[in-house]
Subunit: 455 residues, 2 copies
């Protein structure tokens, strides 16, 4: 019993020093992002007004397989990295499965999720080019908390538009951002044209990521020396998150195993990309035949039930047109507690990988996600974020399949964050106060059929 290693941690000297850029290895590159006016492909410089130049360049980089992590970012990574790779013996035993289950524990970051991996990088590049102010949006607050930490670390002023329902349901995350020194505004707000418009039309609108993005972009464009930052969806965000999978690859080697299946929850794609891409490169090269599963909420199923189409990244239509699996940019997801998964689309890279059948997707019902989360808490001790519980539910399904088939599969999933700030959601679940949300084909069709007109 005591000879089994449970946690695998890399020494600081083994933490990867470069991020992995999967686009360089993709046989079919993602379709280009388009200017909505001209319908012409964007160039890197088209992004410069919005994003720091280095980030815009990373966004468009299709050639460099590895991109060096700046020393200043690596120093801050050391505060919590490497994160542990953990063998889930407790969960395996409870499921009585022959599968070996591993999880990468990103919940140990000081803000409790993987989001810090990109927040530190983005704040660094903004600071480097002399930016003084940055803006962003946040859903459940994980990204906002991470960026607040990062902005403070690099001495930047930060304004966060927080989806109103989360602002009210998750006051602790708001306080965390304020503790790090950020300004937090409930979205929709009266501080932007986009916010005023929606509040005029729908005075009680509870907000969405799409609206909050519109507000944050608008503020950034109207503030001198200010850049916008985004916590998911875009290529450069996925790039920064690959530190997760690059570490996990070395740690799986320490454990003497290689995953047959890699699983992560899916909102905009940041934690899924992070754990998947480094392993996916060996599938693209033909060396390995790993399966990759994105676990979506059944109430926001862009990968399984959306259409592949050019669409806006935000509700108001301020962003370029992105080639994505989407439910339509004005799709209003149900108020599930996994706020970080309430986003209408998938990024350009992921969408291409899905088209090429390099990744799979499954839908998880809200109640199944909480049931899985509680089993995980009781067997592995960590209360997972409601988002991460979607990955756990998908993992449990695969582990039970392995049991049925009598096969010893090795499953790796990403525990993107802990749920200690989401206890009201657990409370509601334990009091039988949560429901599943069914989504009719009609609603999906009503939102996506408008997209035809975009191009």
């Amino acid at each position: 019993m005591s000879t089994k290693t449970k946690r695998f941690i890399l020494p600081e000297s083994e933490i990867p020093t470069a991020w992995y850029n999967i686009v360089a290895d993709m046989k079919n590159k993602p379709l280009p992002v388009l200017n909505p006016g001209t319908k012409q492909p964007l160039k890197a410089e088209d992004w410069y007004p919005l994003f720091a130049k280095d980030l815009a360049d990373q966004e468009m980089n299709q050639t460099d397989r590895f991109i060096e992590i700046p020393e200043e970012v690596r120093e801050l990574y050391k505060c919590y990295r490497s994160t542990p790779l953990v063998r889930a013996y407790g969960l395996e035993k409870a499921l009585d499965t022959p599968a070996h289950i591993y999880f990468k524990n990103e919940s140990v970051s000081p803000v409790g999720s993987h989001k810090l991996n990109s927040a530190l990088a983005q704040a660094y590049y903004c600071k480097k080019e002399g930016t003084t102010n940055i803006t962003t949006e946040t859903g459940a607050g994980q990204w906002g908390a991470a960026l607040s930490y990062a902005a403070n670390a690099f001495g930047l002023e930060l304004a966060v538009y927080m989806v109103k329902i989360s602002y009210e349901q998750k006051p602790y995350r708001r306080s965390i951002m304020q503790t790090y020194g950020a300004q937090v505004i409930a979205s929709p707000s009266m501080s932007t044209k986009a916010g005023r418009k929606i509040l005029t039309e729908h005075p009680n609108y509870q907000g969405s990521l799409g609206t909050a993005i519109s507000e944050a972009i608008e503020l950034a464009m109207q503030t001198p020396n200010c850049k916008y930052t985004l916590g998911s969806v875009l290529n450069h965000v996925s790039l920064h998150q690959t530190i997760i999978g690059l570490e996990a690859e070395k740690q799986m080697a320490m454990a003497g195993e290689y995953p047959d299946i890699v699983i992560a929850c899916f909102g905009g794609g940041s934690n899924f990309s992070g754990i998947a891409y480094p392993f996916l490169r060996h599938k693209i090269s033909g060396e390995k035949d790993t399966r990759f599963i994105a676990a979506e909420p059944a109430s926001c199923p862009k990968l399984t039930r959306g259409v592949f189409q050019y669409d806006f990244g935000d509700e108001a239509g301020y962003t370029p047109l992105i080639p994505m699996f989407t439910l339509g940019h004005d799709f209003a997801p149900a108020n599930i507690h996994a706020g970080g998964l309430r986003y209408h689309g998938a990024g350009a890279i992921i969408s291409q990988l899905k088209r090429d059948n390099l990744i799979e997707a499954v839908d998880i019902m809200q109640l199944d996600s909480f049931k899985a989360g509680i089993l995980f808490a009781q067997t592995e001790g960590i209360i997972p974020a409601p988002e991460s519980s979607h990955a756990i539910a998908a993992t449990i399904n695969e582990a039970l399949k392995a049991k049925e088939e009598g096969k010893q599969k090795t499953i790796l999933f990403n525990l993107s964050g802990h749920g200690l700030i989401d206890m009201t959601a657990y409370d509601a679940y334990l009091s039988d106060d949560l429901t599943n949300y069914e989504l009719s084909d009609e609603i999906i069709k009503a939102n996506t059929c408008k997209l035809e007109k975009l191009i």
Copy 2:
């Protein structure tokens, strides 16, 4: 810059396999605990009705310097241990101090604090002797959360009496306990004689640790096959916590340093003992001249302003008489947010060490603790528990003294937990809604002068 190691983590093979029992090394042993009726010293078997036998034996053990950690407990320690030792470069820079500041990060445990170290051990020994039910009390909820995790891990039913003000102020911790499957009762409650008595006399009483202990003991004594457990104060709890300091000792060696000063916050003594005792053995032996500082809240200053006297551990007087620095067992501490420090007395070992001038104590005002906590969050990224912020405030004071004196001191403090579930307290501080609590000599005298009658 990148050559500086920030975090020191032991491989699983280096995690200590035995706890350190300081009593074996103490020249002046702690005074014996007394039966309140006969005034005779307790024997180990006198504890058996209340505690698991192995725990009672550990409580009285004055001879074995090291006590082996059972394999089952070591397996569960692996879920989060070793915890990182971290060099606080960010805090050092902000203070512009020549001091080297290290902290042991116990906040990475799944329940967010060091309390799990003893919870796992206590649940194990209860299970081992065939106990099916256990009871306990909890203040801020850190101990209750840890024991809920541990009870679930060993398949025990658990009832937690949670101090009513925390039950209301900290609903997230209540939900965490329920997620692990524990029953949580606000104390004082109508479920015990002790609770009914106090509610009859003071219908709106907000509760205290002393009262909750009385209720938990009463329930344990009246339930078949049930034992009581305690999260602090007693010798066996301190014993289990020494894993903190034993690891830290090895990790400081990895960093090539040895602490001149060791600091921890002080409630009942569990995290202070845990980090201090392993280093203190080298002071007792004359090898080292390290200073040890217990950081108390100014509103509950038993070590600096209490009297050394025999007193009860609980409010109703159910426990044996313990030789302690105390403010009186019916002292009602102010409602500071550091709920885990709201306890009237210090354990027998600590009290003896204080009498022998082997340790020091300082008092920290509530506002100073939050100011320190926010500086720590902004420089090291981790939002500390309000309890731990007392240790940070004391550390900052010592680091600034080192700067004044131009001396390169090495300071080690214990970050006993994170504050992610205490964000309402940070909210209140940031909104200027918190105050300091001054404690007059008259109040202290009024509570402690009654003690004379006890023996």
